[in-house]
């Protein structure tokens, strides 16, 4: 990918450092540019700072030093109110789906619309929510069920429909297939690809331990190690690299899965 303008990137991290106790740095100067419209996969060993980096992208953490620019806005300088409004640009699918357990499937998807699209009537909100649920392939007969009454796969679909509700510019998947069986894993992977293809221009960022899926579905891959970016590039760049650690990680990861 040969991108030069800053406008070509959805997310830019410039020398981002993070320490929680003032001594040990979790992120040790991350420099990363995620191209707009890409399906990016972030991989790495456990405890290398993937989730912390993701939380910086979402504005949930402020960097100790450095700059986080999302869609052209330096979010590390935004105050809490501005950040809250800015987060409407994101849609996030959590590892556990994080559905509100006192709301039905339909209410979960309606929720972000009711919060941020107050100009819409109740009927319009329901209409959009039904459309999103249809997009992720959830059978309408489950719409009135509580999250506890549907399967893990259906919960993921509902979580994705909720993430899509506001038509965000950036979709983030936080370890979406961790703990799922192979069939469900493939289903969620396919869902991510289908969603990405159905929404051209949307940037999708996925943190994953599933290397096969990461290389199969992503067009841009980032590998972190010890709080630093070890390699960022296309899957081909990873196959060709001479960096020993990357080679070992990729070879072993793919063999094991």
């Amino acid at each position: 990918m040969s991108l030069k303008n800053t406008g070509d990137y959805a997310v830019m991290l410039e020398n981002v450092q993070k320490t929680f106790d003032g001594k040990e740095f979790v992120l040790k100067g991350i420099d990363l540019k995620i191209p707009k419209g890409s399906l990016t996969s972030i991989i790495g060993f456990s405890g290398t700072g993937k989730s912390v980096m993701l939380k910086h992208m979402l504005g949930l953490f402020k960097p100790t030093s450095g700059k986080v620019t999302v869609l052209g806005t330096d979010i590390s300088t935004l105050d809490e109110n501005a950040l809250t409004k800015f987060r409407c640009n994101y849609g996030v699918l959590f590892q556990s789906a994080a559905l509100f357990d006192d709301m039905t499937v339909l209410e979960n998807v309606c929720f972000p619309l009711e919060e941020h699209r107050r100009e819409l009537s109740k009927e319009q909100v329901i209409q959009i929510a039904l459309q999103k649920l249809k997009m992720v392939g959830l059978d309408p007969k489950h719409n009135e069920k509580l999250p506890s009454q549907i399967s893990g796969g259906m919960q993921k679909r509902t979580g994705l429909a909720r993430a899509l509700a506001l038509d965000p510019e950036i979709l983030i998947y936080d370890e979406p297939t961790t703990g799922l069986d192979p069939i469900l894993t493939e289903m969620v992977d396919n869902l991510i690809v289908e969603t990405h293809q159905a929404r051209p221009g949307t940037t999708s960022i996925m943190v994953s331990h599933n290397l096969q899926a990461a290389f199969r579905i992503a067009d841009f891959v980032v590998m972190l190690d010890s709080g630093k970016v070890l390699l960022a590039g296309t899957p081909e760049d990873f196959y060709k690299t001479d960096i020993e650690l990357v080679r070992r990680f990729v070879d072993k990861g793919i063999k094991h899965q």
């Binding site: 949930l60 987060r87 996030v92 994080a98 559905l99 357990d101 929720f111 972000p112 919060e115």
Partner: protein
Amino acid sequence: MIEKVADTLDRFIFYFINGFRGFIKEVGLIAIFAWQSTKLLFAKPYRYGEILKHMEFIGNQSIGIIALTSVFTGLAISFQIYLGFKLVNATDLVGPTVALGISRELGPVLTGLIVSARAGGAMAARLGTMRVNEQMDALDVMGVNTKQYLIAPRLIAAVICMPLLTALFDFMAMVGSWFLCTKLVGLDHAVFMQKIRETIEMRHINEGLIKAAIFGFMFAVICTYKGFNTTGGAKGVGEATNRGVVISMVSIIILDYYLMNIIRIFYVLTGMSQ
């Protein structure tokens, strides 16, 4: 031997100072949390639906337990006071004494303890579960102010419901007292009512209701703070619930003493009888 004693003393002082520092830090954090949440009480969007939902839970669902405990509290307190006053032939004063004690002290305090155990514990557990299940993160990244959505409606509901529940407690406790005095120990109904009318003023009842609102705010802040800051999975939720309820209950009892003194000083300054 002396070295051992000195060592033990050192450790004791170290733990004491550390414990005290921890306590001060916790109080400070709760105060900051309370201030941040209070600022959001009247912030838009107004969440009437959420407030009503929490009022239903804190208030409506507590009616049964408050009514039951208050009647028996009225019965028990009245009987003890009756036994004492009988020794000095002052049984006519059982009614007003119980009424004063219930409306100023026992009503708000016992209601506070019961509601903080029931609703406060549930608040801490609910918010703690939302925290460990990433539901709060989901709200954050959806651009929803979690304190405004989750905390403010609970605080408002607790402040509104506590005086109402205390009023119910006062009334039902007096029903229990009336029943014991007039039906079980044979005091005269007219005298019982007359003495209460002569002694009790509206301000005595209001005193208890104001205290109740303060207790409501306090237990709601403590329990939501504990739930909101839960860490460590299911174990963390259990600990947050436990600590939220215990700290709320202890705080209500301690705060009651100080509120009593503040009210006393107010009466002295304004020249009102107590």
